[in-house]
Amino acid sequence: MNRNEFTLALKSTIDKKGVDLAAALGVAQFLDMDDTTNASTILQGEEDVIVWQFATLDESPIDPLYTAIFSVGAKTSTDASNYDMLQFISSVQDTFKKGGNIPIYNYSGTVAGTTLGGTMTIVQSGVEAQEYDKESGYRFVSVAARVNRET
């Protein structure tokens, strides 16, 4: 895969994994928190949401080898005992578990790409402390992955 589409393909692959996870959990939305078009409208609602945020993608040591760091988690609102939150987090951890391999394709278009762009191997996956925003709670799984671009 060309270098100039690789970052987009990686991002869209994480989107695809997250959308499939949200569907399996029966959660209405999987949201990139950096999405300026949709984020505020969705996050201000009271529905549970699976959320994620892309942090860094560094050549390590040099292209085609990379280290990627991102966070995947959930936002809940009316959640007594916080059990919904922890159920979501358990599922996120299972999807992005340490040692897991995720093939990278470009899902950003209306049709999924069929050319393997690379592979992402999860090397670290840990649950972070819960945060709060008025009536909602947020908790993330911090994920670090080694990524190689298919040349």
């Binding site: 869209s12 692959t13 989107d15 695809k16 959308v19 499939d20 569907a23 999987f30 990139d32 078009t37 949709n38 505020s40 409208t41 201000q44 470009n106 899902y107 950003s108 278009g109 209306t110 049709v111 999924a112 790409g113």
Partner: protein, 200 residues
Amino acid sequence: MRLSQAINHFSKDCLDGWNGTKWVEKIAYGSLLTYDRFISARNFGLKKRIFLTGSDVGQMDSFSTVRTATGEVYLIESKNSDTDVCATNYANSYQLLRAQYQAEVIQLDTVASASGTPTDVTRTVMATHYCDLERISSRSASADVPDIAYSQIYIVLPGIANVSTDSELRVNGILYDIKEVERQLLSVVCYCYKRSGENV
């Protein structure tokens, strides 16, 4: 003398009603009362009128936007009915809000990407309504760029307006992102941020 006779005696002001495509003439007769006999930093008094009718309200209840004989356009914000000791309605007062602008209600449409997330935003104008627009607070500074600020606005639309936080409004060519929609008695208040920033 019956109360209703006194009210009807003074019902000489005529209103037209906006049906979405054209003005329907002479939908109701009543008294258009003044409201702005004070001076303050707030301008709501300058924008409001009371329209007092007798028991016969004509077609007032069929319209949300009206126009006076002098061409001023108003939104109907509320209606209060007065009844006498026999519970007979003898008068009705409508609170009107001056609507000096027109707002296009814009729907943001997206296409589902292969990943399942929405992409490729397009804008479609769904409707146009008369509206009132007012800035409710000083400009909100950008979180990252100190030289840029975003205005916070509220826009009042007629009660028939179909808007949500997924919509945008465009007034005089300026786009506003709707953050909150509050449906009041007979009108809709949208709290918005201007899409484009301004230099501080």
